[in-house]
């Protein structure tokens, strides 16, 4: 059992509740345990840094100071929301980079009796922890109901692969992290080139025309690639694509109906947990139908997914032009 400190973030208690429920469900099968930072506060999202710099980072750093106080040897801090993850990582990074900035933030923390030495807490995103600490083999071993035949579009969004504060991503625009994880669950991952394009963030609230257009691109492309649902790692992406799809359809006179779920929900379902317990059904654009259909897939297909007979990629037409292929990982699997 590996232990981690855990920063949930505000969305996980509200609109991103299914993320939290599914994450709680998959901890045990994955052999990890998350301990929530006591009395954590909002990270300020992308809003506070647009309003005032020192207060914004002081607010983020309060969480780092609390985490440093609770931390046991070797524990890192895990965040599931992309914006929370990036804010925490950035605060730590900038404090280490600039002594004057560090002094200012710590002066402010001092007014609350706190202190934080940059570098004390290692901030990590949940997806990276699952891929690197747990590993795909352990994930595959935990799968009880492979998601055979479920065609999904892996949607990573912006703030996990970019700006990549700690340099852990080799590919910032077309990483295959989420693809590999979803394939380990037995799902069929469609080639989705918009996987790290922006969902619009707060633009649905601030500049709706822009925000809804960005959502339209993502949804239309997922549909064109014949995905039955999109899979995300971020509560902001989830609510934008899930809840604003209706308004988007009205604006562009389209009839898209593309469900979007959290990757942890699909992990839960593949691990044999009750779909309701992992928050399936909380989406505004219903995902249950597609999931049920996938779970009823023919057993021989499940065997193929489990590695009994490797599925062959259909050969391209001899007259076809050479096309770029996806990352090597798909070929070896």
């Amino acid at each position: 059992m590996s232990d981690y400190l855990y920063y949930p973030g505000c969305s996980m208690e509200g609109s991103g509740r299914s993320y939290r429920e599914s994450l709680e469900g998959i901890c045990e099968p994955l052999g990890i345990s998350l301990r929530e930072i006591d009395d954590w506060n909002c990270c300020g999202a992308t809003e506070y840094v647009s309003l005032s710099t020192t207060p914004a980072y002081a607010m983020i750093a309060r969480n780092l100071a609390l985490a440093a106080g609770e931390k046991k040897d070797g524990e890192s801090l895990v965040a599931a929301c992309s914006a929370c993850y990036l804010n925490l990582a950035k605060a730590d990074h900038y404090m280490a980079q600039q002594p004057a900035f560090n002094a200012r933030v710590n002066d402010a923390l001092g007014a609350g009796g706190l202190h934080y030495d940059p570098g004390t807490v290692k901030v990590r995103h949940l997806l990276e922890v699952i891929l690197n600490d747990v590993g795909l083999e352990a994930v595959k071993a935990a799968v009880k109901k492979p998601l055979t035949g479920l065609k999904v579009a892996p949607y990573l969004g912006c703030m996990v692969p970019r700006p990549d504060i700690d340099g852990s991503y080799t590919n910032h625009e077309q990483p295959d992290d989420l693809d590999r994880l979803l394939r380990a669950l037995g799902a069929e991952v469609v080639d989705y080139p918009l996987k790290t394009e922006c969902c619009g963030g707060h633009m649905t609230q601030v500049a709706p025309k822009l925000g809804l257009e960005l959502i339209r691109r993502l949804v239309a492309e997922a549909e064109r690639r014949e995905a039955v649902m999109m899979v995300t790692v971020c509560p902001m992406c989830q609510i934008n694509i899930d809840a604003y799809q209706g308004e988007m359809n009205a604006m562009f006179h389209t009839k898209h109906k593309m469900p979007i779920v959290f990757f942890t929900q699909l992990m839960g379902v593949a691990f044999g947990l009750d779909p309701k317990k992992v928050g399936v059904g909380r989406e505004y654009t219903n995902a249950s139908k597609a999931l049920v259909k996938a779970l009823k897939a023919a057993p021989e297909q499940a065997l193929v997914a489990a590695g009994a007979a490797p599925a062959r990629r259909p050969r391209p037409d001899k007259r076809a032009l050479p096309m770029p292929r996806m990352a090597d990982s798909e070929v070896e699997e």
Binding site: C10, G14, S15, R17, D39, W40, N41, C42, G44, A45, T46, E47, Y48, S50, L51, S52, T53, T54, P55, A56, Y57, A58, M59, R62, K90, H93, Y94, Q97, Q98, F101, V105, D107, A108, G110, A111, G112, L114, C158, M159, R162, P163, D164, H172, E173, E197, C198, G201, M203, Q205, A207, P208, L210, L214, A243, G246, E247, A250, R282, E283, Y284
Partner: protein, 195 residues
């Protein structure tokens, strides 16, 4: 032969001063002075279409000392924080953080092009400072009533849907040590003003 002087010395001074001001306002190391005007930022930007100036143009204007025009531009307010430009910039300029700094400066001088973005930010942060947590329903309700009243009929079924699915909590979550958080922030604002 008479050679036209392209930038008079005063403009160059104003440019250097404004560049230094923006650099100092940026959290982290901006590297803004390294810009080679290649335009990779604007070419990578999903919202470049709706921006008054592309990021590249903004950086040129900063160096030319066009303070007013830069701080009145909608460019930083249309920035999505998607970091596409940041990973593509050959000079590794922290473009997103520069955009945040420009928004902070526009907030300080009230020079933003319209108040929708600043209002959203203000209400979001006001609630986060008070409760220690963001309050999704309070924020959105207030924001739509104030700025997008015509969107309400379209949005209402969605709000009810989310409520029915247990995704909207009516009351805000609050942290225990709100006094501590507020003391930290008060000191932080003093420090920010003293800069």
């Amino acid at each position: 032969m008479v050679v036209a002087q392209v930038s008079p010395p005063e403009a160059a001074d104003a440019g250097a001063r404004f560049l230094a001001e923006v650099t100092a306002k940026t959290a982290g190391v901006s590297r803004l002075e390294m810009c080679i005007q290649c335009g990779s930022c604007g070419g990578s930007c999903p919202s470049a279409d709706v921006m008054d100036h592309t990021p590249r143009a903004i950086f040129a204007m900063i160096r030319a000392g066009e303070r007013d025009e830069v701080l009145r531009s909608n460019t930083p307010w249309m920035c999505l924080s998607c970091y596409h430009c940041v990973v593509r910039c050959p000079q590794e300029i922290a473009i997103t953080d520069v955009m945040y700094a420009l928004k902070v400066m526009a907030e300080e001088g009230h020079t933003y092009p319209n108040n929708v973005g600043p209002d959203f930010t203000g209400v979001f942060i006001g609630q986060a400072r008070r409760f220690g947590r963001s309050w999704e329903v309070g924020l959105t309700a207030r924001h739509y009533l104030r700025h997008f009243i015509l969107r309400l009929p379209g949005i209402t079924p969605m709000a009810f849907g989310l409520f029915r699915h247990g995704r909207i909590g009516i009351l805000p979550h609050q942290i225990r040590e709100r006094k501590q958080l507020q003391a930290i922030l008060q000191r932080a604002y003093e420090l920010e003003r003293a800069r």
